[in-house]
């Protein structure tokens, strides 16, 4: 056991919120795109832990395709 799966989810949630705030609050176009990239990266990170949690391939393949 490394960590509970909820902690990985919580890390991804914090990263997603940071990306969301960056995409909403910044005025610069590049920073808005950077926030979108942070959100995409945060959305795919908990999927990669699904193999370790439930022996499922779907999360890993979904994460790859994003």
């Amino acid at each position: 056991m490394i960590v509970p799966y909820g902690h990985v989810l919580l890390l991804a949630g914090i990263l997603f919120v940071l990306g969301l705030v960056c995409a909403v609050a910044r005025r610069n176009l590049v920073m808005v795109l950077l926030g979108v990239e942070i959100m995409l990266n945060a959305a795919e990170s908990p999927l990669s832990g699904r193999l370790s949690a439930g022996n499922s391939w779907k999360g890993r393949c979904l994460s790859f395709s994003s």
Binding site: P4, L11, I14, V17, L18, V21, N41, S52, C61, F64
Partner: protein
């Protein structure tokens, strides 16, 4: 195994701090470089969770290609001169409140979910097994994604060759 948990928490702290600094920087180049640190941390989390191939892809694609593309955009379009001078409160306050509400909801959802306590055991997937499963079981999704990328490529070519383009300014081709 307690060492793995320690590594995970240190990596998570580094990722969150680097992203927080990157979000609040005024200088765009500094923001991009801090975000590269965050992506390296994410790649190490992938490696820790047993996905070394995804970790390598994270470094190559996110920290390598996409962030270098952002640096190219910043340096070629000279966006840096137009960086905002101060953070206006009227723009940051609603975003901060919405983000806080969202964060509280995420915390509630995660800690009340019965499946969230599932322990992550140490398992590793080799790239060969990964590729075999991906291209045998999910070949249709791979084809759809590749078709989407082809459409984007043709669209980028078409937009790049549009006749209404001004020859002097390089500003209109954004992201």
């Amino acid at each position: 195994m307690i060492l793995y948990a320690l590594i995970f928490y240190v990596l998570a702290a580094v990722i969150v701090l680097a992203t927080l600094v990157a979000v609040t920087r005024r200088n765009l180049v500094h923001a991009v470089v801090y975000l590269i640190i965050s992506f390296f941390g994410t790649a190490m989390v992938y490696y820790l969770l047993g996905a070394p191939f995804l970790g390598i892809l994270e470094v190559i694609i996110y920290a390598g290609a996409i962030m270098v593309l952002f640096l190219f955009i910043i340096m070629m379009l000279r966006v840096e001169r137009k960086a905002e001078h101060r953070f206006s409160l009227g723009q940051w306050l609603p975003a901060a409140i919405l983000g806080l509400v969202f964060l509280v909801l995420v915390g509630l959802l995660v800690f009340t979910d019965p499946g969230a306590g599932a322990a992550l055991t140490a398992a590793t997937v080799s790239p060969r097994v990964f590729g075999r499963v991906l291209f045998q079981r999910y070949w249709l999704a791979v084809e759809i994604v590749s078709f989407l990328l082809l459409i984007v490529l043709i669209g980028a070519l078409f937009l790049g060759k549009a006749p209404g383009r001004r020859p002097t300014g390089g500003r209109e081709g954004g992201s």
